[in-house]
Amino acid sequence: MSGERWKAAALPVALLVALEIGARASGIQSDALAPPSAVAVALAEAFADGSIIGATRDTLASAFAGLLLGGAVGLALGIALGIFQPFDRLMEVTIEALRPIPSIALLPIALIALGFGYRMEIVIVAFACVWPILILSRAAVRSIEPRLIEVSRALKLSPGDRVRKIIVPAALPRIFLAFRLAAGIALIVAVTVEIAINPIGLGASIMTAQQALRPDLMLAYLVWIGLIGYALNAGLVVAQKHLFGPAALAGEAR
């Protein structure tokens, strides 16, 4: 396994070396590009002065809060729509009208209504996270083995117990997958909101570094966001395997 990992790392490492050599040979003078070594130094400096840590906290706090809020709403609605078909038909037009709205398109309204800060970012991330979780959890509930539902009827379980004891456990692996998808979206949307408007977090730091003509620092933040995204997904994959066993990942490229 670790040998395989090294092979997979060979291409990016070779690219970095080539970039470094290329940058030094051509003596680039750019306000948008920097050699990898300068990026590494800038990253280390940003850690040393603590600025990147504060920015990471702001971004992750907003992304997770938005993910939890949007996830809760999406999950509740998804399960309700999955169970009650008439409710699903009633809500279909509303949901299909709201779902295609890019969350970023809400930015001007969100800025004027909520102002800068966590609140605006959390609301926009939540809006983006509701839909994948809603759609996938609705599908997960619908695809539950019908006999399980029959069992719950035979046992005369109350609707609350039916959700708690039968539906959620049966749909959980797929719901978790939806959550994993939404986590990636949450990070992307949080950083985008910061780049566009919100003066906090990693996205705003990228913009500040760019405007301060520090391409090395800007790219350092970019690399760091990539690492966070990678770590986030890796952590969730481990959690998924741990919680649901390898079956939960069947059919996925790992």
Partner: protein, 307 residues
């Protein structure tokens, strides 16, 4: 901006709740225009006048009107064009104090920089060229169009695209545009890198002294806080001479706020600080913006200037 105007009503409903802060928040972009506020923070001038001010770095100038209305910042530094378009769109903003004005120095910093292989001998040579502006309808673009018109060139013949300052050097180098509307320190950086030459000094030729950026607030907040406004104006009036005369102090404050290196900041003089804002200065902007069809209504000068 029109979408913003549409929700202005909703904004005033929310704004009240968001304003419950003790600190006075002042929002500006990473330019030297708000240097008077930066210096007033660092030199303790705001404190001396009894104000606790925190400055917020805002990425894009056109976000400032919305940030003011949301209550995230109480005072912001929009450019004249952003401010007037916001007011024209229905946002209830007022100008409270002057920040920066054009003068011989700042005008000399502004140029149209053309890439190698393009020669501009006279204004009409820009016809048919692709010209990058940092923002369409923003300060430099409006000035350049005004210059073209004064020189008898139809601006419709020029193909304008948006190019942000930090990407200008690369785009000029790659030939993606023929010219960029830019300012120092980018002119010197691109000249030293041998990417091209100065095609026109349009701001110097226009030779204006109107405001570039001024401090603005929402009418609602400004009318409720006359005391804060009075103190703010006094502090800015005290800080402005430091910006204009003390390069060391102003450069240190600008570098601190914009996060630019001190060498970069010192490479060019900050734009001139002028704490007093006069109605007739805005009248010039209203005239040229109206002639460029950027304003739909007649902006009432007496209304947008806070007494």
């Amino acid at each position: 901006m029109k979408t913003l105007a549409g929700v202005a009503l909703a904004a005033t409903l929310f704004a009240g709740a968001a304003q419950a802060q003790n600190k006075l928040q002042v929002g500006c972009t990473a330019t030297t225009d708000c240097a008077s506020a930066m210096v007033a923070v660092d030199e303790g001038i705001f404190k001396k006048h009894g104000l606790d001010v925190e400055m917020t770095l805002i990425g894009i100038n056109s976000n400032i009107p919305a940030a003011i209305l949301s209550g995230s910042i109480q005072i912001g530094g929009p450019t004249s064009t952003v401010f007037l378009q916001a007011v024209d769109g229905g946002l209830d903003l007022v100008a409270v104090a002057g920040a920066s004005v054009m003068n011989a120095n700042s005008n000399a910093n502004i140029t149209a920089f053309v890439r190698n292989g393009i020669t501009i001998k006279e204004p009409k040579d820009f016809v048919g060229k692709k010209v990058g502006a940092p923002g369409l309808g923003a300060f430099l673009h409006v000035l350049f169009v005004k210059w073209l018109v004064e020189k008898g060139v139809d601006p419709k013949g020029v193909n304008f695209v948006e190019v942000t300052f930090p990407t200008m050097a690369d785009i000029i180098k790659s030939g993606g545009v023929d010219a960029v509307l830019t300012a120092e320190p980018f002119v010197t950086r691109m000249t030293n890198a041998g990417l091209g030459s100065i095609g026109a000094r349009y701001a110097a030729e226009l030779n204006r002294t109107e405001p570039i950026i001024f401090y603005a607030a929402s009418r609602d907040w400004a009318e409720k806080n006359p005391d804060v406004i009075r103190k703010f104006r006094a502090a800015i009036a005290e800080a402005a001479p430091i910006v204009n005369d003390d390069r060391e102090k102003s450069a240190a404050s600008i570098a601190k706020f914009t996060k630019q290196s001190i060498e970069l900041v010192k490479a060019s003089a900050p734009n001139k600080s002028e704490p007093v804002l006069k109605a007739e200065q805005l009248a010039w902007w209203i005239d040229i913006m109206a002639s460029q069809k950027m304003l739909q209504s007649k902006v009432d000068l007496n209304k947008v200037m806070l007494k």
